[in-house]
């Protein structure tokens, strides 16, 4: 989860070969971001292997560097973001379509799709339900989708820009603000990054307390997602059943940690949650009942042919494409990839022996993405059950215990998958804070899988990913 010590500087001319070598050595992509430095910004690439985290870095001389998107297709949005926000030009990344920027010129962001009867359907930024804002441009023939161009970042608040120059201790509040449903995962990734910068290590109580918070967040999110999927197929009893369970989970959040979205429960250097035995015991009981009823409701769904019929075989993200795109979280697991940032007991948390969840049928379709969440609700129930049976004795502390890092890297498994936060400091203040959330990682895959689907299936496919806009736009 943490542990970056040094930055490996790479000569601009050697960038591609160094990245190629890192991939050869088993490195997996975490994120790529730019650090503004006048005329010559710096590009950092964060990779992870069995041993730990590596940060490769190169100078974009006169704001130009080589693209690595052919070596690491998962870096596509990262390069586009660095281009739009920090004006880095990536040689070889063609065409460089606008991502964060919203140019008026349609050719700058819309893929040309031509042929008999091809037409465009524009949806959003305002959607019909209670949904976040973002724009979809479908290229269709009849009801068949040929291609989808995403235009997000309507909610861009430049939170990374806001963080720059702030006191290190204030980074967490900015990361939290990026997104309510991922508040714990995002702020914990940030706190972990800052603690690794400062050489701090969480003690046992803090590790257990933070794990409780992460899992409480996952519980209400997964219940929400199953509710959304039911309403996506027009099955209201299911939608209402899971919505009611989500409400109970959020009330549990309030009781355990003082806030329905667990806001302000993560801070750098220590914990905030104090759980007495009685509260923990009571919470454990309610948790068990929520998880049991969710399992019951899920089994009802699995026996309803009319519901199942709508979920199977659509929106298929096959394993190769998921790997290529660097998909994360339940999405990746539903495509048969055994990945989970919680696996292998990351140092700052408490996940002894956790294995990535395996859905019954990892077919990469809507049914598999629903099924993996059902499995994970039980998994989360088990983890929380154990932790609440023997709650941490106090809020916990992060204590000095390792070497200070040049770049702090924090990695958490949010309800949507691996989320990475990188923090660099100068003079005790934040020089650069970069937050790459699971939603940022998975959005490109949404666009991939809807090609070939029919328009009426789009809302359902989209709900099966249930990605955030807020922590992508930031």
């Amino acid at each position: 989860m943490t542990g970056q010590i040094a930055i490996e500087d790479v000569e601009p001319g050697d960038w591609r070969s160094a990245v190629g070598a890192a991939i050869q050595a088993g490195g997996q992509f975490d994120c790529l971001y730019a650090v503004p430095a006048g005329h010559d910004p710096v590009v950092r690439l964060v990779m992870r292997d069995g041993v730990g985290v590596r940060v490769l870095s190169t100078v974009a001389v006169a704001s130009r560097t080589d693209s690595i998107v052919d070596l690491l297709p998962a870096a596509e949005w990262d390069e586009r973001e660095a281009h739009d926000v920090h004006r880095v030009h990536f040689d070889g990344h063609e065409p460089m379509r606008a991502l964060v920027g919203h140019p008026a010129d349609r050719d700058a962001w819309i893929t040309p799709v031509e042929g008999p009867d091809v037409h465009e359907v524009a949806v959003g930024p305002i959607h019909a339900g209670v949904i976040e804002s973002g724009h979809f441009r479908f290229h269709v023939v009849g009801e068949r989708i040929l291609h989808l161009d995403l235009r997000l970042f309507y909610k861009h608040r430049d939170l990374e820009g806001v963080a720059a120059g702030l006191d290190l201790a204030r980074g967490v509040a900015v990361a939290q603000r990026s997104c309510a449903p991922c508040a714990v995962a995002n702020s914990l990734a940030c706190a972990t990054a800052i603690e690794s910068l400062m050489g701090l290590e969480p003690d046992e109580d803090l590790r257990r307390g933070r794990t409780i918070l992460l899992e409480l967040e996952r519980l209400y999110n997964h219940l929400h997602d199953l509710s959304a999927l039911c309403s996506g197929v027009g099955f209201d009893p299911g939608a209402m059943t899971f919505a009611a369970l989500k409400e109970r989970a959020q009330r549990l959040n309030l009781r355990v940690a003082g806030h329905r979205f667990l806001f302000d429960t993560i801070r750098t250097g220590g914990g905030t949650t104090v759980l007495d035995q009685a509260t923990a015991h009571e919470a454990g009981g309610e948790l068990a009942s929520i998880v049991r009823e969710a399992g019951e409701a899920w089994r009802t769904l699995t026996f309803m042919e009319s519901v199942q019929d709508r979920l199977g075989g659509i929106g298929i993200l096959d394993r190769d494409q998921a790997l290529r795109r660097g998909a994360v979280g339940p999405t990746a697991r539903a495509s048969g990839i055994r990945t989970d940032a919680r696996a292998g007991s990351p140092a700052g948390l408490w996940y002894p022996g956790l294995e990535p969840a395996r859905p019954d049928r990892p077919a990469g379709d809507v049914a598999a993405r629903a099924g993996v969440r059902a499995v994970e609700i039980e998994q989360t129930g088990a983890i929380l059950g154990e932790l609440l049976a023997r709650p941490p004795c106090g809020p916990g502390l992060a204590v000095a215990g390792r070497r200070q890092a040049a770049v702090g890297v924090g990695r958490t498994e949010s309800p949507r998958g691996a989320t990475v936060c990188c923090v660099e400091a100068a003079g005790g203040r934040i020089a650069r804070l970069h937050l790459r959330t699971a939603s940022f990682a998975n959005w490109p895959a949404v666009a991939d899988v809807v090609a070939g689907a029919i328009m009426p299936d789009f809302p359902l496919i989209n709900k099966s990913f249930e990605l955030c806009y807020a922590c992508v736009d930031r």
């Binding site: 339900g129 976040e132 309507y154 939170l159 309510a180 929400h224 209402m240 009802t300 309803m304 955030c468």
Partner: protein
């Protein structure tokens, strides 16, 4: 399926929501102008069984053309100002504007000011203020029900 219905029925009895007081209705159109998605979650939760705002005449509608109330979440970003104003323009009179959550009210905002068009109040006349980060589902429901009389007007003879 039977079990699911049975449970929903039990749940509903257990919650025992109070009967609606004054009859009336408000059709709501929500526009996310740059929120963290917390206010959206609580708004959607207000329609779920524990609050069931439909019982009191509140409903979400798909188009601003069908709406009595425009619900704004988030401090309005530069990019959402245009779509927000277009939605407001599309609404029939009489109409109300609600600022839902602290961000929409311009309180405790975290953002680069260059990216913002300002809080709701700077762009539209705000009639309903619902503070909180985020306001709870019951606070949302109560604030909207309190606002219902704002749209009530005497029925003219020729309409009766």
């Amino acid at each position: 399926m039977y079990v699911m219905y049975k449970r929903l029925q039990q749940l509903r009895r257990g919650i025992a929501l109070p009967a609606p007081g004054v009859p009336g209705s408000l059709a709501l159109r929500h526009v996310d102008c740059g929120s963290c998605n917390g206010c959206e979650h609580e708004l959607a939760n207000a329609a779920a069984p524990h609050y069931d705002f439909g019982r009191y005449g509140l409903s979400m509608v798909a188009s601003p053309r069908h709406a009595d109330v425009l619900l704004i979440t988030g401090t309005v970003t530069r990019r959402m100002a245009g779509p927000l104003l277009a939605a407001y323009e599309a609404m029939p009179e009489p109409r109300l504007v609600a600022a839902l959550g602290n961000c929409a009210l311009g309180v405790d905002v975290i953002a680069n000011p260059d990216e913002l068009a300002g809080p709701a109040e700077d762009l539209l006349p705000v009639d309903i203020r619902i503070p909180g980060c985020p306001p709870s589902p019951s606070e949302i429901v109560e604030a909207l029900l309190d606002a219902m009389p704002l749209l009530r007007r005497p029925i003219r003879k020729d309409e009766a």
